[in-house]
């Protein structure tokens, strides 16, 4: 198969998923930076990576500065943050690329936030973490992949595997005790793919043997399609179902009509 994701993504790191418990972390801000730099200055350098690849080298420096305070040197993990050995480049690209890492607040769910690294830095970090142990790689797509993807089939798969948490239109939904499945409105196809293969936080892992890369592309294409498609009936009202419709019905519908009755009932 010459399917879209690069071959590295097929080497799925299937031991990796459970190790990450991203929701359990974090010192932040200046303290974190200072500590990181201290470590970077004092440490003799990561033992795990002896690669001569310059990306890995740069990644290691970034890692030691920004990540090692929680995840430990060479990604061995610590009490407050999971080991990163074997999580793969896809995980780094997803977590850092969506701004979830570095973690800003300790809470039940790591929210999507401002991305703190440049694209190149993320790739360097990913290369370094990938060098720690085998894991899913960063998927690559091209236009030909999308043409193959069967949107309607993807929709069925989406409703079976994704809609229960992310809602019928990917608007997100609530989970237990403050956790939630985020909206897919800002997710790029690559991030959706990465989330499926790595299972960030509490999301189940959907490995390539269960949902094949082609099926994943079909799902992503469905999400892309409905995200970009028009709402033929007017304002989409957040695409969350009857709750927002109800608010509109009471406020705009009955609200306006009550004002109309006041107008009609008022003496001229």
């Amino acid at each position: 198969m010459n399917a879209s994701p690069t071959s590295s993504s097929r080497v799925a790191g299937r031991l990796s998923a459970r190790r990450r418990s991203l929701a359990s972390a974090a010192f932040v801000g200046v303290v974190l930076g200072v500590l990181g730099m201290l470590y970077a200055a004092l440490a003799p350098g990561g033992q795990a990576s002896t690669s001569a690849d310059p990306a890995v080298q740069r990644g290691r420096d970034l890692y030691n500065q920004g990540c090692s305070s929680c995840h430990g040197f060479a990604g061995v993990g610590a009490r407050r943050a999971p080991s990163l050995i074997g999580v793969g480049a896809a995980s780094v690209d997803f977590q850092v690329g969506t701004g979830r890492m570095p973690l800003q607040h300790h809470g039940p769910e790591a929210p999507r936030s401002r991305v703190r690294y440049s694209q190149q830095e993320i790739l360097d970090l990913a290369a370094y973490v990938a060098s720690l142990g085998p894991g899913p790689g960063i998927p690559q797509f091209n236009d030909a992949d999308w043409q193959k993807a069967d949107t309607a089939y993807g929709g069925s798969l989406f409703r079976t595997n994704c809609a229960q948490c992310h809602n019928f239109a990917g608007s997100g939904g609530d989970l237990t005790y403050g956790k939630y499945a985020p909206s897919l409105s800002k997710s790029t196809p690559r991030q959706i793919y990465e989330a499926m293969v790595t299972g960030p936080e509490n999301m189940p892992v959907f490995g390539d043997k269960q949902i094949t890369p082609d099926q994943k592309l079909a799902i992503i294409n469905y999400v892309r399609t409905i995200k970009s498609q028009a709402d033929p009936g007017g304002a989409g009202l957040g695409r969350v179902g009857p709750v927002s419709e109800t608010v509109v019905g009471w406020l705009a519908g009955i609200g306006i009509l009550v004002i109309v009755t006041l107008w009609i009932g008022a003496r001229a």
Binding site: P108, E109, P111, D150, T151, A152, Y153, G155, S156, R159, T160, A163, Q164, C165, H166, N167, F168, A169, S171, G172, G173, D174, L175, T176, Y177, G178, Y180, A181, Y222, T225, I226, D231, P232, G233, G234, A235, G236, L237, R239, V240, G241, P242, V243, E245, T246, V248, G249, W250, A252, G253, I254, I256, L257, V258, V260, T261, L262, I264, G265, A266
Partner: protein, 546 residues
Amino acid sequence: MADTSKSGAGETAARKGLRYVDDRLGTAGFLKRSFNKVFPDHWSFLLGEIALYSFVIVLLTGVYLTLFFHPSSSEVVYNGSYQPLRGVPMTDAYASTLHLSFDVRGGLLMRQIHHWAAILFVCSIAVHMFRVFFTGAFRKPRTLNWHIGVTLFILAVLEGFAGYSLPDDLLSGTGIRIAYSVMESIPVVGTYLAYFVFGSNFPGVDFIPRLFIIHVLLVPGILLALISAHMMIIWHQKHTDFPGPGKTEHNVVGTPFYPTFLIKTNGFLFLVFGVCAALGTFAQINPVWLYGPYNPSQVSAGSQPDWYIFFLEGSLRLMPNLESNIWGHTISWNILVPGVVLPGIMFNLLYAYPSLEAWITKDRGFHNLLQRPRDMPVRTGLGVMSLTFYGILYIAGQNDVIANTFHWSLQGTTWVLRVLIIIGPPISFYIARRWCLGLQHHDEELLHHGHETGIIRRLPSGEYIEVTKPLPPERAEVLAMQLGHDLSGHAALPSSENGHGPSGNGHRPVGMMARARGALEGFFFERHEPPRANPEDDEPKTLTRP
């Protein structure tokens, strides 16, 4: 102005037409009475008209939808113009809804107007019911019309749920699944009931055609008949009105039906239709194409029914997980109580309330003048209490969306609501009742002192007083009547109707029911003893409040 010959011709034609009908039906007397029929014109009397007109809109658009909808569960493969569902197997009902939405010009518009008008129909019935309740318009002689109204409300909810379920999309299928489970939970007959209604185990193929006939024929027929009865009774009994100058229990003051009221109310019909059309154009409702076809193995986050079922969804969510197994039979209280018993109690209380209140207050009189909410603090308190109870269930029916919006803990919101459902209603009763009594107090001050003018005068003795301006006599008279004072030798309005007020009953209660009634009466009229107002007495009255 039209020239005389033209208007003359028009007049002749009109007379001819009216004669034609009268010669055959003898309608002249009826017409004259109807044209002269007087309608009071308070704005809140138009709330029921919203319901009437949205029903008209629902009927009109609904007939259009039946021309395209296929009430069938047979499986087809979608091949229409909505690309993201092409090739997906689905029921004919769902496929025809997609066809109606994407391949019939204006079909989606009609579907959306139909759905919005249905939402507004139930909403306006509820709002209308609040008005009737809080103003005491349900009292004798309008008790029967209240009962018809409650029936209309229940039928409207059922009709709405049936319509929401027909397209057989993922969301409505989930709703039907829950309805099936609620039926199953009924002791002894539940399983059989569910099997007979659905024609088999869930989901079966018979349910959608059956539901269709219920939705387009059975329930609308009953609704139409009951709405007609509702209107005819209003027409016969004449509308209630708020007390005001010149208004008595024995007259009705307002606009004649023809022409002014007729033109206004027709204008209102089009305005309601216009608002529905605006919503149908600019606010998307029930996008079934996004939900996908129903599949018993799939579900979407945030699966909600339409608003009028929220309270049932909420009560199911808040209920603790009780289930018992007695002699080999399972009773699932966790569904039976919130899904069957609770709505049964709620609707029966609605039916019974007018009789209950009449029994407690011993009020057997006829009432054409309305009360303000403050005039009956306990009734208002009970109403607000019920609304609070309903409102908490209503919120619980969407707590996942609320929790997700504010990133609260889902379980936390459920617990907060579980506590609120216990303590909220009594607190709201207390607040509402105190509020009413406070407003009564304010009215008393207004009645006895008049408006504050803000002018401070210094008396020769050095004392400072604020000058107040007495109320105009008409206003004072109406206010006194509303407050239950016997200002001018007339019987006062609200409580002591027919001398059956709290103190008007000199008999000692005998028997348990009578004693209970007596106690409840004391509770109902737990308000100030109306001061014996002496018209010449300008001294401020002190208010004895509980």
